[in-house]
Every structure is written in C-alpha cells, then in structure tokens.
C-alpha cells in the first residue's frame, strides 16, 4: 500500500466529474472520450468541421492541460504526470488496437461508460463498466501472476 495516493485521486476525480458536468451543461454533450475522438476523426475524413468544432476543442484542451498546469519548466517537469510506459512497443500497439476496436464496438470507455454512464444510471454502462474492469484485472492477473511478466 506504499503507493496509495487517495487525495490526488479524489481531487482528480472531482475535476473529471466537473468536466463531464461542464460539457453536458454548456454543450449538451456526453464527455465520452473514445466517442469524441472517433467522431472527431470521422469529421476530419469527411471535412464536416462545424459540428466537430467542439470535439476538437475538447481534445486540444485535453492535451494542453498538462502543459498549462505543469509545476515548473524544463525537461523533467512533465515526468511525474506523464512517465514513460513500462510496456514494450509491440504490446503497446496491440493494446492500442484493442482499446480502439473495443471502445468503438462497445460505444464507450472509462469516461463515457465508467463516469457519465454510471452517473446517469445507464444499464448499458453498468454492464460495460463491470465487463471492462473485470477483463482488465484478469489481463493483469494473467500477465503478472501466471506468465510472470515483469511489467
């Protein structure tokens, strides 16, 4: 339990909830990041800018956040928030494909189902959240405790 960081986790969670509340109350849209990203990409391919403007603004805000908030300047300033991934590149690509394919097929991810869907008491989101949490925990279990991979 030496890595337990309840206060930053709770504070970050409150901000995530606030962001979801803001987007729905200002723009009338669900803050589901996989959906926003997929629809943003699709608009880019179809060149339908007007309806996708808020999506790209949201995605740009997401990426600007750590740069705007970073505690100092210099090389290592972002290192604490965005440390290097422990996963080898091949597995990283496989994981990215699965995350993209799965969230598009299942209509949502941790934000759309796990936060917004649960907050709306959606039964689809309850099922999706239960399934992806269990699948993720089982995947880590198999890799770390059955295959004894060190990451």
């Amino acid at each position: 339990m030496e890595h337990f960081t309840p206060l930053p986790a709770l504070a970050g969670g409150l901000l995530i909830g606030l962001a979801a509340a803001l987007l729905f109350n200002l723009q009338g849209r669900i803050a589901g990041i996989s959906g926003i990203f997929a629809a943003g990409l699709s608009a880019l391919l179809r060149r339908t800018w007007d309806e996708a403007a808020w999506r790209w603004a949201f995605l740009i805000g997401l990426v600007l956040a750590p740069l705007a908030l970073r505690p100092g300047t210099g090389e290592g300033a972002l290192e604490v928030w965005l440390p290097a991934s422990p996963t080898p590149t091949g597995l990283l690509v496989a994981a990215g494909l699965l995350v993209g394919f799965g969230t598009a097929l299942g209509s949502g991810c941790t934000s759309g189902h796990g936060v917004c869907g649960l907050a709306r008491l959606s039964r689809r989101s309850f099922l999706a959240t239960a399934l992806f949490m269990v699948a993720a925990a089982l995947t880590v279990f198999v890799r770390r405790h059955l295959l004894m991979a060190g990451f």
Binding site: G17, L41, L62, W81, L82, P86, T87, A119, R123
Partner: protein, 142 residues
C-alpha cells in the same frame, strides 16, 4: 465560438483531472488493476469523486431541459444490452489491462512528446476505424 469555448474548457478541466489523479501514469493504473498483487486502490477514488459530481451536473441539466447556452441536450437513448456492447467492453478491458491506458490518458500523454504516446494513439485510431468498418459491413448484410 461558444461551442469551441465549451469544448476547450471541459477538455482542460478533464485533462487536469486525469494528470492530477494519476490516471495518466500507466504503471499506477496497472497497480490499481493488479488486485492479486501489491494492490494500489487509489484510482477507485477517481470514480468515487467523478461520478457524484457528474450526476449533479446531469440532474441540473435535466431540470433546465437545455444547455446553459440553449443547446439541445444529447441524452444517450439506448438501453439494450447487445453483443457489440459486451464484446467491445471485454476487448477494451483486455487492451486496458495490457498497457494501463484508456483513451483519455492515451490522448493526454501526447503532451509528453514521446513517440510511444503517438504510436498508441495511432493504433487506437486504427482500431476504431476497424470496428466502424466491421459494424458497417455487418449492418449491410443484416
């Protein structure tokens, strides 16, 4: 302009929440998912913090009936538990368990300027494109 303001502000606050909470650190996420190992329960508190605040936001919006700027509220309407939802959620979970990255943190990590963050986001985009094509194909046949 209002749409861009709303999107940018929500994105900034969401991104701040992701980095402050620890969700943008894949090792931390994997520690949360490793319930049989040296379990780090911190990230359960992310959901515990986010869900009530989001719920209040949805209640306020429902009472008003439209957005603060008069936009239509886009409530999700589906309630059916179908196969794509189930298979999609499981595949997403496996991917999340491999790398400790879900879509929000994956995008936030582009700010690190690391090549690996771009590789993951591109793979994610390809996966989304694949699922979209597959669903279109199945719809045509059905």
């Amino acid at each position: 302009m209002l749409a861009i303001f709303s999107g940018l502000l929500s994105g900034l606050v969401f991104g701040a929440g992701l980095v402050i909470s620890g969700m943008s650190d894949p090792a931390k996420v994997l520690g949360f998912l490793d319930v049989a190992g040296n379990w780090d329960p911190s990230l359960a508190l992310v959901m515990a913090g986010a869900i009530p605040v989001a719920a209040i936001g949805f209640v306020l919006a429902r009472r008003r009936g439209s957005s603060l700027f008069g936009e239509r509220l886009n409530w999700p309407t589906r309630s059916d538990l179908d196969l794509p939802l189930i298979v999609g959620a499981i595949l997403f979970g496996i991917g999340w368990g491999i790398a400790g990255l879900c879509p929000g943190p994956a995008l936030v990590r582009l700010a690190s300027g690391r090549e690996e963050s771009l590789v993951f986001v591109l793979a994610m985009a390809v996966g989304m494109g694949g699922a979209t094509l597959l669903m279109r194909l199945v719809q045509k046949k059905g």
